[in-house]
Amino acid sequence: MTPPIHPEDALRELLRVEGVSVTLAGRQILENVSFGLRAGEFTGLIGSNGSGKTTLLRVILGLQRADAGQVLVLGRPNTGRNRSIGYVPQKVLLDPDMPLRARDLVALGIDGHRFGFPLPSRQRRDAVEAMLHAVDAERFADARVGTLSGGEQQRVLIAHALIGRPQLLLLDEPLANLDLRSGQEVVSLLDRIADEQQIAVLLSAHEMNPLLPVIDRIVYLAGGRAASGTTDEVVRDEVLSALYGYEVHVHTLHGRILVVAGPTEDPATPPDASLKVI
């Protein structure tokens, strides 16, 4: 299934995940997962809860060891602590009492890993200011991060991840718990950033529809296996059925995609009862 890597592809690729398998506590989470990310592309990592999205992102970051396969970041094996990857984890709980302004959290993206005292510099301040502007967060830059709305917090976290000038940005379920409009704003912000800064964005979500207008490619995770390509290439009956290991159907309704488990023509049960929206 894995396409051979051509040298020129490998050059343009910022990330290559190659045959990655992970078993946690006796359960196979990922099985021979392979895909690549290129500069300027916005990729959706789609899968239901428990499909291994977070594990896959942690493997890419070097926070989780793969039992088999490898991850190449900019053509080199990832040893962890890679400055070229920006990361927005899932469910960052920001306490309202935490004495941290939005601009402080963004500044931690520059040198939060360093020991000792920060040197206050004009350059550092300007970089924070420019980043806050880039994610349209100047308005609430001086508010405590814990008091911001979910969408505002996501922007600040994105700014924190981007200020280190990574070439890859990974986001784990950033749209969960956001209202529809905030979700749309975050998605279009990321689309603009991927394009302007020519970085590769990989965003995980259990719902693909909010991403469809902007994503260039999709990595679909199900049953521990992955299929990748454009949405049209991946979101098809035969591809997804092979992933899930049982029959599923893809329906399109007013431009929205619905993946439904079969069988739908079983005469013994009424169709509605056996429908399962994934």
Binding site: L61, L63, G80, R81, N82, R83, I85, Y87, V88, P89, V92, L94, D95, P96, D97, M98, P99, L100, R101, R103, D104, L105, L108, G109, D111, G112, H113, R114, F115, G116, F117, P118, P120, R125, E129, R139, F140, A141, D142, A143, R144, T147, L157, H160, G164
Partner: protein, 300 residues
């Protein structure tokens, strides 16, 4: 307030030592405490105090400086808690609770044995409620060394610690050695709790750790200012507490001075209550609000 000067407050050597040690301990506790409150580890701080009670009372029993016992107990407790930290938070709470129960039981035994052997009740009083007026020169030196070590650790880990307090995943992804930073912080916490145990007593030490930090976190939204505010709250509470305890000697004809720990803890509590007052809450809320009139410059 002529009575303060008449009673020789500023010429008493024990008062000088108490003010010096008390202020140092208040600063150390405040710096560590801000992170403890922010990380939601007040319970861990209290547990360390209980474990260090066992260490302090054990040291007293074998004629070792109780401060060394406090700190040794705290360090062992911190190491144990960090090792348990690998597992789930709920299991950690349970294990911590059981360990601290056992530690207090051990302290009860040590204090009982110490009291029967030396036939004084001074041991319990000194270990549990502090001995800030009875600190000898060699202990002052140890206090100074431990304080410097603790402050150096906190200065070194402040940024990675802050980042991993926001999210350990985010910190790990940025290359922060999360376990090492956590261990160093627990070591600093053990030192702070040990020092605080010496000053105001093992079972009250959490008050000096958590109280000023909690007050400060209500007053400002910037961590640098929160640390300064916590230090000021702690130092003022300790200094006033020492002054009132010294003065309480003359409050009744029997000349029985009240314990200094009582005054310090009450003052911290009053400071905390003050931040709960309606006008203070309104001011804090205003500070939290996104106010476009606040100038953006003036970074720390």
């Amino acid at each position: 307030m002529h009575w303060i000067f008449e009673s020789g407050f500023f010429s008493s050597h024990p008062v000088h030592v108490a003010l010096f040690v008390g202020s140092l301990v208040a600063v150390v506790s405040a710096v560590v405490g801000v992170f403890t409150v922010m990380r939601g580890q007040s319970f861990a701080g209290h547990s360390l105090a209980d474990v260090s009670t066992a260490g302090g009372s054990g040291a007293f029993l074998v004629n070792v400086n109780p401060l060394l016992g406090f700190v040794a107990g705290g360090v062992v407790g911190a190491g144990a808690m960090e090792m348990m930290g690998v597992r789930r938070a709920r299991g950690r709470d349970l294990a911590t609770g059981i360990v601290l129960g056992a530690a207090i039981g051990l302290a009860a035994l040590f204090l009982y044995l110490g009291t029967t052997r030396s036939s004084t009740t001074g041991a319990s009083q000194q270990i549990l409620f502090g001995s800030i007026f009875e600190i000898d020169g060699s202990t002052v030196a140890i206090v100074a060394v431990f304080s410097v070590v603790c402050l150096v650790i906190m200065a070194a880990v402040q940024r990675p610690l802050l980042l991993s307090s926001v999210s350990t995943d985010m910190a790990a992804a940025r290359g922060v050695p999360v376990r090492l930073v956590g261990l160093l912080y627990m070591l600093a916490l053990a030192l702070a709790v040990g020092l605080s145990s010496l000053a105001i007593g093992a079972i009250l030490s959490t008050a000096l750790l958590i109280g000023p930090a909690a007050v400060a976190l209500r007053l400002t939204k910037r961590i640098g200012r929160a640390i300064v505010a916590a230090c000021l709250t702690g130092v003022v509470s300790v200094a006033l507490g020492v002054l009132l305890a010294y003065d309480s000697y003359d409050w009744n004809s029997s000349h029985a001075a009240w314990p200094v720990s009582f005054f310090i803890v009450v003052l911290i509590f009053l400071a905390y209550l003050a931040t709960e007052l309606p006008f203070a809450r309104a001011a804090a809320a205003r500070r939290r609000d996104d106010d476009p009139m606040v100038p953006a410059h003036g970074d720390r």
